[in-house]
Symmetry: C2
Subunit: 748 residues, 2 copies
């Protein structure tokens, strides 16, 4: 899991040649609360809410976390697939869930060669290696000294030992590479690139390096992105020490790359690994204790503004070293290997009393790169206690209207494998039956502010839920901000210059297990965490994916009292309760209209002039979005006259609300983006963590000015524009009265 | 519309290098009535059934047919798009339907150049043309003398005036071309091929001719396929006279070829026509008054057994003419042009009283090549009277449980354009809401026997309906066979050697408007007609698509009393009534299991040995089909304990029955088959009229022995085998209890 900081994303959008539309949408969204003020998710029984919240126990969360993190539990190995799977199965069975089912898949994973693990070094003309990087992270606390710790690596890297001149590529974004290639005229062939972590998904850095012909890529954590000056580093604070290394996956394909679109069940057909889209070049991560050795010896011009990190050196582009190292090369030794392993999802079910065939899903992954006390076990511990709290309610005679499905995903760190295979296996059932998917990966990154992203039709639900949960921040409570919502609004307003602003509510990229639910099946999805202060300017919580992400670190620096974990459990439980128990689904189609409007404004800001200059009538899209708003208002107006005691009528009504998200899916994947079919919101083309609004259209215009085939490219833009309009019309039609079947009429 | 005769299809399967699995399925299917004997579609109120049937009036059908056929009414021109559209709208509004809506689309059609229409001729070395074919069909009855008659042509032919040696290619099947190419070593470049109509869809003939490099293709109607010796021809009988010509479409793409996957609405993006899959060579049809001139002059070897037609000549392969014509060439002059036109679908709605968002659709096309008294106006006349009969019931206070949708499609003759564009526009709504689609194209081809095709889960429904409708054949009634079912079973048993056989129930290709409903959205579909005696050996009813298909012809030779039309209206109305009014949907999943079983047996007969020889465990598929049968039995067993008075529980149950067909759709189209996504049944790869069971798998093995890349091809077979197994498992899972979500476990 990683959520890019808003700060960094916005910064990039300003610098970039290309801009993903999702970014623009952020600015100014939700400064019109009037459109939403009358939306209230029905709360059927407040006493149930209180009982559910009160039955959650923070000591239990702590106990779970302690157990879950006592050993490293990487995907595909027994600590995770046997010990933790059994632990979860047993707990859920003991809780008395209606069903507990495990779903195994044989999938392609990747591991370093333990005992001969990866390193990088400077190699002299005579072949002598120097400045060899650490093969393991330094053990700072004895609890980290475990033989099951997997040495730092990037999953699915190619193996190899390339040597070449070093080039610094900043974050390795597509814009960074375009700048180096077009402005600095760097020829990347036979070069070893070094990129700092941050800004975008590391797999996109590797993709760009490969596209530009690099021989290898070194990823490192720069103190500018993982430390704050004067604040010290672990073990004296929670910031990244020089010896910490961020592990992580490079694969862009979701799930097992050998079985795109289909589950890796025993009867599956598996594509040869050589024919998959896995990286073709070696990639490996290092800490800044090592990175500084190489960066400080580099030659070539100094980097442009904004490219320097936090090391006390002059950052240079290269290529190559300077001075006494001028004839030396950078060398990488990567022996990472792919391996087929069995992974498991564990699912618990509470059958709905009225609508068993409507699913509300709660998901968290189980596997960690090392101990995973933050990522993901802080979420798993919360999941375990939330499930128990539901089971307490069950024992008191309560049962939700719709079915609850609790999901412990395997192999998320390897590119969402467990959730992807499961969604692929049960996509037809989910298409017709899933109401919503609520993801918690890391539950508590820090204690600064609650953070939530998702489809906008669920945003008001989340605001309401946050208003119902006590604020774990005692200092804030003493200032009168008694709910999670209050501090959310204070510290993370959507628009700080608007006194009537709502809290910030983000959009989804592909950083965790919500991805396939939303992008492939059109299930409305939410992802949330307790976050750190984005104003710190760091790229993720600092010890992310390092060996230092331990239970003691959490109890020392993140949440000693487990009160934030408790708040997360309550938010998650209550959001699920409302989705599963409200008579009318708390899906607000009007908010999708707001989202479309904002996406349109951003599109126009960035591309409007260019589109009009190439013969596209940009008013047409606006007209269609306005028609969507009409349909959205129409359907919600019907709530006033709907007989809530008539389950049958309510089901028909709810079915239309559910179908909205599905109406945005295309029959075909987005061009060049297997498995992503959502035409309104998708992971960004050049940053899998980011979000792109109107992705088919926006992708079609990426870097279009540099394309010699202007006619062909603009035809594709026009095609995408037409498809986008069609899906918005189709969604509007889905919301209208089912008889007669009608479409808003739009003339060209 | 055209339904290939079973006789001809089976004959081809014996001759062919390739065999579509659907064919094998036919033999022996439904000789196990025990599996179905306890399936009864609930009949909620028999008095409604009787009232509905009795309110249908055969004189009204006759009156409608007279009006509908008074002028030629080709798609895209005012006789059809204005006069008949207005007529239908007015009638339905007068009937008091809840809604009548027209859906216009701007689509690509094709017309001959009137006044300079197409012909073929023999051209001598000096350029002199002789033996010029008739540009118009001879007017035999004054009613045919109408300026709006469109001269014979094949829609979407390329224009051109090629000359070359003539080659006779029999029916122009892929097997015919393979034989000529591999055994007879014919080089088709610069050749003008002549093929007889029959056996397969004419568009596939054109595709094969183009694939093999022909310069042009002449299609003709051979008396062997459209006449019976000694029976005379029109106007003395209903058989094809020498001057009759079969018009018809060549386009394989469904709908507007410029907007595959999307509707041709004003905001659509239209692909350039030159980039579509339309024919690249000229193709034109002639009658046998002309064909005999060319065929009798041909040289080269005599044709192999089975290739001779009914003309009193020696059929020869060519290439080229012989004797005094040895230096002459065949010439074609084709000036057919594509043209964008507005077409319209008219839809009438009767809103369901209980489940308005569940649709039962009745479809028939409106457009005809000329007068269309058989194709399609015999169906349109029946549709109009059926709608009126429903409106009579409405006025008596009855209202169906689910919504009825009556569809008058435009431009079906041009490759299902009206229905395809509409399904594309409303595919999301149909995916979630459509219960079934019942098609009637030609309602009465002749009076011999009722004929029905569709998905097997609806077969028992149709048997039950046929048992409830009085037999229009008075001679049969006098022998004690009082229902349509009785004569159906007598004259068209599934297995004539099995005394317990059920009637023949066929599978769907892509001959009419059911195609997109089933293949693209997974809506269970039925197609039916009153048929001629397939034992006659003719390829279609003889005057099909000729100028002689007139009202007088129908009243003289087909159904003078309109009693067969009446029976069709009753069958259609009653099938729709049961689908719309039964509490439990009359969809029998167990019969899908029977179909899978039979498809498996056919697959094994044809390909089993070869598959096993290439390392495929063919027992695995059988195992999965058996698991599907378990799930199908499970769900139907639940009917016994279902509380039919609980609308809510019944809806959940019915939803699972509805979802079955959808579970067989893949996320991706079949390889090389845009828009077809059904992995269990699809139009045949080499005959769009035919049906192929397990189409992805069967297509992957077509002509595989001749492929030099045996490894690559068999990998694709294995991939397809795996996908097929996945979809059967997925469908089985869809039928199982929704909680927990489960899959049958199959080990590899």
């Amino acid at each position: 899991n990683a959520m890019p900081s808003r700060f960094v994303v916005v910064l990039v959008s300003v610098l970039a040649v290309s801009v993903s539309i999702g970014i623009g949408v952020i600015i100014g969204y939700f400064s019109h609360p009037s459109a939403n003020s009358n939306v209230q998710a029905p709360i059927e029984d407040e006493s149930i809410q209180q009982k559910l919240m009160n039955s959650i126990n923070k000591e239990n969360i702590q106990t779970h976390l302690k157990f879950l993190t006592k050993k490293p539990h990487i995907a595909g190995r027994s600590n995770d697939e046997v010990e933790l799977v059994t632990y979860i199965e047993n707990e859920w069975k003991a809780n008395g869930l209606d069903n507990v089912v495990s779903y195994p898949y044989n999938v392609l994973l990747s591991y370093p060669k333990q005992g001969d693990s990866n390193y990088v070094a400077i190699v002299a003309a005579d072949g002598t290696e120097s400045d060899i990087s650490q093969r393991k992270e330094l053990v700072i606390d004895p609890e980290q000294n475990d033989p099951d710790v997997v040495d730092p690596f990037n999953a699915y890297s190619a193996a190899g030992e390339p040597e070449g001149d070093i080039v610094y590529v900043n974050y390795g974004t597509i814009d960074d590479f375009i700048y180096l290639n077009r402005t600095m005229l760097i020829d990347f062939h036979n070069k070893i690139c070094i990129a700092r972590y941050g800004s975008i998904f590391r797999g996109d850095k590797a993709k760009h390096a490969e596209q530009y012909g690099c021989a290898g890529l070194i990823l490192y954590s720069d103190p500018a992105n993982y430390c704050v000056p004067g604040e010290g580093v672990y073990p004296d604070s929670w910031y990244l020490p020089p010896t910490g290394v961020q592990r992580g996956n490079l694969k862009l394909a979701r799930g097992d790359p050998r079985t795109i679109d289909y589950p890796s069940i025993p009867t599956a057909w598996f594509k040869n690994v050589s024919e998959t889209s896995l990286p073709k070049i070696p990639v490996t991560p290092i800490g800044y204790i090592d990175a500084v050795k190489y960066l400080s010896k580099m030659g070539g011009p100094a980097v442009p503004a904004g490219w320097s990190g936090g090391l006390n050196i002059t950052y240079r582009i290269g290529p190559g070293f300077s001075g006494t190292y001028a004839s030396s090369k950078m060398k990488m030794s990567v022996k990472t290997e792919n391996e087929e392993k069995e992974i498991k999802n564990v699912m618990g079910f509470i059958r709905g009393s009225v609508e068993p065939d409507r699913y509300v899903l709660f998901g968290n992954h189980r596997d960690a790169w090392v101990f995973g006390a933050t990522d993901p076990s802080s979420g798993t511990a919360v999941l375990m206690e939330m499930v128990r709290s539901y089971s307490v309610m069950l024992k008191q005679g309560w049962r939700p209207r719709r079915t609850l499905v609790f999901c412990s995903w395997g192999a998320e760190e390897y590119g969402l494998i467990g959730s992807t295979e499961w969604v692929e296996e049960f996509q037809k059932q989910l298409l017709f039956r899933a109401v919503a998917y609520i993801n918690v990966d890391v539950s508590v990154k820090s204690s600064y502010v609650f953070s939530c992203r998702g489809v906008y039709s669920l945003s008001n639900l989340m605001f309401d839920v946050a208003k119902s949960v006590p604020n774990p921040d005692t200092a804030e409570v003493s200032k009168g901000r008694t709910t999670v919502y209050d501090t959310w609004l204070l510290r993370s307003p959507f628009n700080s210059s608007d006194p009537s602003s709502l809290p910030f509510f983000g959009t989804l990229g592909s950083g965790s297990d919500y991805t396939m639910f939303l992008q492939s099946v059109g299930v409305p999805a939410i992802d949330m965490t307790y976050d750190y202060d984005r104003g710190l300017g760091i790229s993720s919580y600092p010890l992310y994916h390092s060996v230092y992400e331990t239970f003691d670190m959490v109890t020392t620096y993140v949440d000693p009292e487990f009160t934030y974990h408790l708040a997360m459990a309550r938010i998650w439980a209550e959001a699920g309760r409302r989705l599963s128990d409200s008579v009318i689904l708390p899906i607000d189609c009007r908010l999708y209209g707001v989202y479309l409007d904002r996406s349109y404004d951003s599109l126009m800001t960035i591309y409007g002039k260019s589109m009009r200059g190439n013969g596209i009538d940009t008013d047409k899209l606006k007209e269609v979005i306005d028609l969507f708003a009409v349909a959205a208002n129409e359907i919600h107006d019907k709530e006033n006259t709907l007989d809530l005691s008539n389950d049958f009528l309510v089901r028909g009504y709810n079915d239309q609300l559910m179908q909205l998200e599905r109406a945005f899916l295309d029959q075909n994947p987005l061009p060049g983006r297997p498995v992503y079919r959502h035409y309104i919101t998708a992971p960004s083309q050049h940053n899998n963590y980011g979000n792109s609004g109107f992705p088919g259209l926006v992708d079609s215009m990426f870097d279009i000015d540099a394309d010699p085939d202007q006619v062909g490219r603009w035809e594709e833009v026009k095609r995408q524009y037409s498809i986008l309009i069609f899906h918005i019309l189709s969604a509007a039609s889905t919301l209208r009265t089912p008889v007669p079947i009608t479409q808003f009429s739009v003339h060209n």
